[in-house]
C-alpha cells in the first residue's frame, strides 16, 4: 500500500569529525553522499523521491560552520549551521536589512529554526528567497574541498535549477557579505499564493544607494526569484537606473527592461505571462519604495 506520509528512505547518517575527513568522504562517495545542514529541503526531496542518497553527511559540527559574526572590515559571515531565525535575531544583521527581510519571508518560524541561508544557496532553487539578498550584497562563499579551503563569489555560482559550481567533496562552510554601502536601502517583495509562508511566484530583491559615480546619482542591485533557471540579475534594468535621471519614467523603463529579460515558466504557482507582468509591477514598486526610503 502506498502511504500518504512516506517515511524517509533508508540511508546512513554520517557525522565527520573534521573538514578533511568530510571532504574526502563526500568526494569518495559522490554522488551517493550528500551534505546537509537544516535538512528542510533535503528531507522533503528524499520523501518525494527526487533524490535517494546512500549517505547523508551532517556538516553542522564542522569547524567554521557555526560562525555568526560581524567584522568592521570583512562584513557579516554566516555559517552553514546557523538557522535563519538566528540570523534574523542577530542584532548586527540589521545592517543588512534586505537579507533580514528576505529571511523572515521563508516558510514559517519553526521551519526557520532549522532552515539555513547556506542550504538555501546550495539547493540552487530559482525560488530561493535569501539568494537575491546575498547576490545584492555581493556575497562570497567560503568552501572546503578536497584540496583545502577556497572561495567563490556567489554571482556566477548558479548553473541551472538545483545546479551550482560545487565539486564532489566541496562543503560550503559560510558566506561572507562585505560591508554594505552606508545609507543603502533594501526591499524584498515576495508574491506568494498567500500573504505569508508560501514559496514565491515572483520574488524581487532590490538594494539601492546614493552613488556619485553614476549619472543618476544612484546605484541599484536587483535580483529576481522564480523567473529563470537561476536567480536572475536584470543587468539592463540596473543600467537604466544608473544612467538616467531617476524619475517615474525611468523606473517604468527599468521595470519594463526587467520584464523583457526574464524567462519564467508556467507552473503550479503561476503562469509565465503572469510572472512577467508581476516582475514589471513589483520591480517598479520595489525601486519606488527604495527611492522613498533614500530620500526620507
Amino acid at each position: 500500500m502506498t502511504s500518504a506520509h512516506p517515511g524517509l528512505p533508508e540511508f546512513d547518517y554520517v557525522k565527520p569529525a573534521g573538514l578533511k575527513e568530510a571532504s574526502q568522504f563526500l568526494a569518495q562517495h559522490a554522488p551517493e553522499a550528500r551534505p546537509f545542514s537544516g535538512g528542510t529541503d533535503t528531507f522533503v526531496r528524499m520523501r518525494d523521491g527526487f533524490f535517494n542518497p546512500k549517505y547523508l553527511v551532517d556538516v553542522k559540527g564542522l569547524e567554521g560552520t557555526r560562525v555568526l559574526k560581524i567584522d568592521e572590515k570583512e562584513g557579516l559571515t554566516i555559517g552553514a549551521a546557523i538557522p535563519m531565525n538566528r540570523v534574523v535575531a542577530f542584532a548586527e544583521a540589521s545592517r543588512y536589512p534586505l537579507l533580514v527581510e528576505a529571511a523572515k519571508s521563508v516558510a514559517s518560524y519553526q521551519l526557520r529554526s532549522r532552515a539555513t541561508i547556506i542550504g538555501n544557496i546550495c539547493n540552487a532553487s530559482p525560488a530561493g528567497d535569501t539568494i537575491g539578498a546575498c547576490l545584492a550584497y555581493q556575497g562570497v562563499l567560503n568552501i572546503h574541498g578536497v584540496d583545502g579551503p577556497k572561495t567563490l563569489p556567489l554571482n556566477g555560482f548558479f548553473t541551472g535549477p538545483g545546479k551550482n559550481l560545487l565539486k564532489p567533496g566541496d562543503i560550503v562552510l559560510s558566506i561572507t557579505l562585505p560591508v554594505p554601502p552606508k545609507g543603502h536601502a533594501g526591499r524584498y517583495i515576495k508574491l506568494g499564493r498567500n500573504r505569508l509562508s508560501d514559496l514565491s511566484i515572483v520574488g524581487i530583491s532590490a538594494m539601492g544607494v546614493k552613488d556619485s559615480s553614476t549619472k543618476s546619482g544612484y546605484k541599484f542591485h536587483l535580483a529576481i526569484a522564480s523567473v529563470a533557471p537561476v536567480p536572475f540579475i536584470p543587468a539592463k534594468a540596473e543600467e537604466i537606473l544608473a544612467n538616467n535621471a531617476l524619475n517615474t519614467e525611468t523606473i517604468i523603463l527599468a521595470a519594463q527592461a526587467a520584464m523583457d529579460a526574464v524567462t519564467p515558466i508556467d507552473d503550479v504557482r503561476g503562469s509565465a505571462q503572469y510572472r512577467k507582468f508581476m516582475v514589471r509591477n513589483l520591480v517598479n514598486r520595489a525601486v519606488t519604495e527604495i527611492m522613498q526610503k533614500l530620500s526620507a
Binding site: H5, P6, G7, L8, P9, E10, F11, D12, Y13, G38, G39, T40, F43, V44, R47, L56, D58, K60, N85, A107, S108, Y109, Q110, L111, S113, R114, L196, S197
Partner: protein, 155 residues
C-alpha cells in the same frame, strides 16, 4: 543502514534510545517513547502538527532526524503542564473555544508557548506570524489567536 544510540532529555526526563539513521524526531517521540500527543500531518514541514521545542525553539519534528538531537532537550505537548497545572496557553485555548477536532492543537500550543517565551506581549500581527506554520482546518484561527493574546495578558 546504521543505528545510533542517543541520549536525549524529553520533558525533563533523560532517555537513551536506539534510532536508525532515517528515523525522524517525530517517529522517535511517537513510536519509541509513546508520546503520541505530537501529530504526524503533512510530513513535509508545512502543517506544523508535529511542532515540538528543541532546546526551547519550535521545530517541525518531521524535519529533524532523531540522531541529530543526541545530547539536546526536547519539550512536547506532554511536557507543557507543570505540577498538574495546565500551562496558561492550554487554559485559554479551552476557555476561548480554540479547539475543535484538536489535531493541530499540540503543535499550535508549542508554537504559542515558544512565542510567549521570546516575546511575552506580542501584537496580534506577531501572533499571526508566529502561528503561520500551524495549519488549522476547523476554527478559522480567530479563537486561537484570541486565546494566545489572552494568555499573554494574564501572564
Amino acid at each position: 543502514m546504521g543505528f545510533h544510540q542517543i541520549s536525549v532529555k524529553v520533558n525533563g526526563n533523560d532517555e537513551v534510545v536506539t534510532v536508525s539513521s532515517n528515523m525522524t524526531l517525530l517517529r522517535m517521540l511517537r513510536e519509541s517513547l509513546a508520546l503520541t500527543g505530537t501529530k504526524n500531518g503533512c510530513a513535509a514541514g508545512e502543517c506544523g502538527a508535529c511542532t515540538v521545542m528543541l532546546n526551547g525553539e519550535p521545530v517541525n519534528s518531521c524535519m529533524v532526524l532523531a540522531v541529530e538531537v543526541d545530547g539536546q532537550e526536547i519539550t512536547t505537548i506532554e511536557g507543557l503542564a507543570k505540577d498538574g497545572q495546565l500551562d496558561i496557553v492550554q487554559k485559554t485555548i479551552i476557555e476561548k473555544g480554540g479547539v475543535q477536532c484538536g489535531f493541530c492543537t499540540p503543535g499550535m500550543l508549542i508554537s504559542a508557548r515558544a512565542l510567549l517565551n521570546r516575546n511575552p506581549h506580542p501584537t496580534e500581527e506577531q501572533v499571526v506570524e508566529a502561528l503561520v506554520g500551524n495549519l488549522c482546518r476547523c476554527t478559522g484561527y480567530s479563537r486561537i489567536i484570541e486565546s494566545v493574546q489572552a494568555a499573554a495578558e494574564r501572564s
